[in-house]
Amino acid sequence: MKNKILISAFLFIGMAVGYYYFYNTTGNVKHLDPISFSHYVHTKQHKIKCQVCHRGVETQMRAGIPNIDVCSMCHSSIIDSTSKKEFVIYSYVKDNKTIPWKALYNIPDYVYFSHRRHVKMGKLECSDCHGDMTTQTSPELQNFTPFKMQFCFDCHESRGVSTDCGNCHH
């Protein structure tokens, strides 16, 4: 009897988990990038600013994920021949191939979100939403923040920014 209850409980939990997992696709999707990119090396060691690679962050809606046109600025030749990683990036640059980065932060198409507005005009730090990337030595596997509307909402409310639905949804 008790086991039956237990089994049905498991069944129910399984259903809930499955439903949630398949229904809820925004965020928390594990994936692997083709290159084990280290933010730490770039930002801390080489003192490169975020907007150098994420070029649209202050001028555009999208910050943009850099591709070989950006990478080749430094990696047009092998800088450190001992690094295996560098060979990988160089091979992409050499073959003029697009690096198949995986976008971790995806915003649904019905949301209007502009980096320029938040970074340039709203004077937010990158780390406010993305966490401190300068310490990351490998690509992130999880969103720093769950990009749910509540997250936007809390911030907007605490800063007294408009929370009118039509300002962000289209």
Partner: protein
Amino acid sequence: MPRYGMVIDLNKCNQCGACVTACKLENNVQIVSKENADMGRAMYWMKMLDINYEGSYPEIRPTNIPMLCQQCDEPSCTKVCPVRATYKRDDGIVAQIYPQCIGCRYCMANCPYTAKVFNWLKDEQPVENEKCYNTDVSVRPKGIVEKCTFCIHRLQKAKENAKSEHRKLEEDDYIPACAEVCPSNAIYFGDLDDPKSQVAKLVHDYRKFTLQEELGTKPKVYYLSAKSE
């Protein structure tokens, strides 16, 4: 706070239909198949309302009206929405929040202008149109209600651009697609509360009328009748 409104001069409109096309393309409005169109599910946020004829042959002239969401000041659709998927913004635009909508179609039933459309089926767009989707506007999934929003995505962008240039939003910054493309400049758009704007002047024109005035919905889309005398 502005109060956006539109004036359509029927004396200038020659029914070319550019506004209809522009609206469909700007807002990624679905193109439906023949079966659905025949059932009355063709989706138009802006449509040329059926032609009426005045007079008798050969002294006969068509009258028709480019019809869009009337953006009422007293909208009847927002009252009945159970989840606040449609509501009136402070600037007068009756917005439709797609991820909120549960698809009960109560607002459609209560719109005296039949201006709302519903996504009956999942969209199967022709490839050529899919590639030309406007990235500023979401593609609505099946099962939700949509309607003209005065191209609210253009307002979102215009506001940001104005702010980045440290100036106020000017009249030319924000204009819906239909008004932009109209070849005969029959569609005026602007702030009704700004006495300097053209729409504010035109709504006092003696030819002005609104649709279904008696219902008290106070549309913000005004028409200037075709009588020129």
